[in-house]
Symmetry: C2
Subunit: 330 residues, 2 copies
DNA sequence: CTGAAAGCGCTTACAG
DNA sequence: CTGAAAGCGCTTACAG
């Protein structure tokens, strides 16, 4: 391991000078600087990040906390985060929590010890006290996809509008009995999508029917059973608004297994626009979220927080959303 | 920030004693130990990992270097790596390279010295000198998915056998003109799958036909054009062995766009068994790789390397593979 | 069993 | 512009 001392010796200067020549922030004589650079090259010197971090109190590392990278929403999001991080000289630690609070707290603990400079959470719940605590300590935090009102900086998409447009489209194309298969109402994003659904019905003078409202459905496979349950109890809607593409996939399978056709008997509309959604049978009509850009924005926001001394008021960036019409709706 | 000094002061002992009480490796009087623990709890002391790392020369962090987390093979792999890492007290840094060597070298540079205890590469090429160099320096390295003969520890799947079984199945079910759409032959895994393809044909007394051999096809969308090209030049196979599921997806679209049916006119078989592959139209027949387990094994292997003092001879773990028959083959 | 001291590799006031 | 010194928060020989 070659250290700053080795470089200093070879260049015939003191370690302090090497440090200054390298940082560039403090004036150094041109000639000495060249000698230093020459030595750095000759020895292939790499400054030790730990020592630097220990001294400066920062590590140029951020943590990305998500439920599960296998949920197909997150690869694009993670990629957005990483690209921006890398371009700014940051490195990202990936943390999957499976929505388990203990795992999440564990990670927060561990990462803070590691002196991570900031954290992006895509796991925020209504009552994520630990996130609020970090915020209060002025530790840089940004929420992604899910947010907590205006208390913490966040990047989300326009959930209300996306849902409103999806359901309005269904109404416009002649559907009257529109069910919603929703996620947990503990999450703001699903509450907002629910509001959009209700508003669209109301604006069209359609009733909001209790039996067509299903929530608490997760993304890993139980959309199938919720839909099957609905059909088997004899409530057949003419359209379903699924609040995520993974849910829509399960719902379509359930409708087919029940012996009905999509979209002839039941139209299905999703929310996300995953890369696979165009490849399904039938190709999925859905509301596109700019997942990559959301990740990229969150990383930018976090890095700005890290670099700025004074705390500003948190802001929530709402990204626009677009209805993509394919073949799962008639 | 509460440091070891604060704890020492409160417990009325020296910092050295606190360190020893905490590490547990060196005997400490029971009573003093309790005083220390009491102080640790009272102050909610968190040892600073940077300082520890600087002193001990290790950080309990590993780097995972992959082409792109958006390629649907990698989320499962990454999850396997992370789960094992976390269970062993390690943290993982995610690095996407897009197969760009400069990005990769940049990452290796940044991560390697003193900062990360080991590296998992899912990006190895035939001539990845930088990986060999790390290995020679005795820096812990494990290859994943792709390997470099027996020079470096690796976890791969049984590519030859998977390909052999896939193609043999096609032959057994009456196909005679079987094309292969392959990845870059610069990668061992694709060479091995190619060998399996050829061997299966030979064992059945079928000729290996040049015009049915396409390689250098990447996973992001150009399977579509390769297949379309093949069809348009008038060479219509009765089956296609795609050496990855993403390629199979593009191939199926090309066949349909060309006006033929899958599997009635052309059977298609993939390799991977992604979660989406069962949901496609038609559901994809494919060779399943244990992606999660491969990631988990690689992490285990790496952590063992990190913890063991002496270098052992590298070993290549070959994981078993399974043919999953669905509806894209007749 | 315990404390004082040295040192991991840096950066940055403090002098000059 | 430059060097010597102190210090970031730990761990670990060295004495006792």
């Amino acid at each position: 391991m070659v250290t700053i001392k080795d470089v200093a010796q070879r260049a015939g200067v003191s370690p302090s000078t090497v440090s200054r020549a390298l940082s560039g922030k403090i004036p150094v004589d041109k000639e000495t600087k060249e000698k230093v650079m020459e030595a750095v090259r000759a020895l292939n010197y790499q400054p030790n990040v730990l020592a630097k971090g220990l001294k400066e109190g920062r590590t140029n590392t951020i943590g990305l906390i998500i439920p599960n990278i296998r949920n197909p929403v997150f690869p694009a999001v993670a990629r957005g985060v990483e690209d921006v991080a890398r371009r700014n000289g940051f490195t990202v630690i990936l943390c999957n929590t499976d929505e388990d609070l203990r795992v999440e707290l564990d990670y927060v603990d561990k990462l803070q010890k590691r002196w991570v400079d900031g954290l992006i959470f895509a796991t925020a719940q209504k009552d994520s006290h630990h996130i609020l605590e970090l915020k209060e300590k002025d530790f840089p935090v940004v929420l992604l996809v899910r947010h907590m009102e205006d208390k913490v900086d966040a990047v989300i998409s326009n959930n209300f509008k996306g849902a409103y447009e999806a359901v309005s489209y269904l109404i416009k194309t002649g559907h009257k009995k529109i069910a919603i298969v929703n996620g947990s109402l503990g999450l703001t994003l699903y509450r907002e999508r629910f509001e959009g659904y209700k508003k669209a019905l109301q604006d069209a003078g359609l009733p909001v029917i209790d039996e067509f409202i299903i929530d608490g459905v997760s993304d890993n496979g139980n959309g199938y059973y919720s839909m099957l349950g609905l059909l088997e109890q004899g409530s057949v809607p003419d359209a379903v608004f699924a609040t995520s593409d993974p849910k829509a996939i399960g719902i379509i399978r359930a409708i087919k297994d029940y012996g009905l056709r999509v979209p002839e008997d039941v139209s299905v509309i999703g929310f996300d626009n995953l890369e696979i959604s165009a490849l399904l049978d039938p190709p999925l009509t859905t509301v596109a979220q700019p997942l990559y850009e959301m990740g990229a924005n969150a990383a930018n926001k976090l890095i700005r927080l890290i670099n700025s001394k004074r705390a500003k008021k948190p802001t929530v960036d709402v990204m626009e959303v677009e209805l993509i019409i394919r073949k799962s709706t008639r």
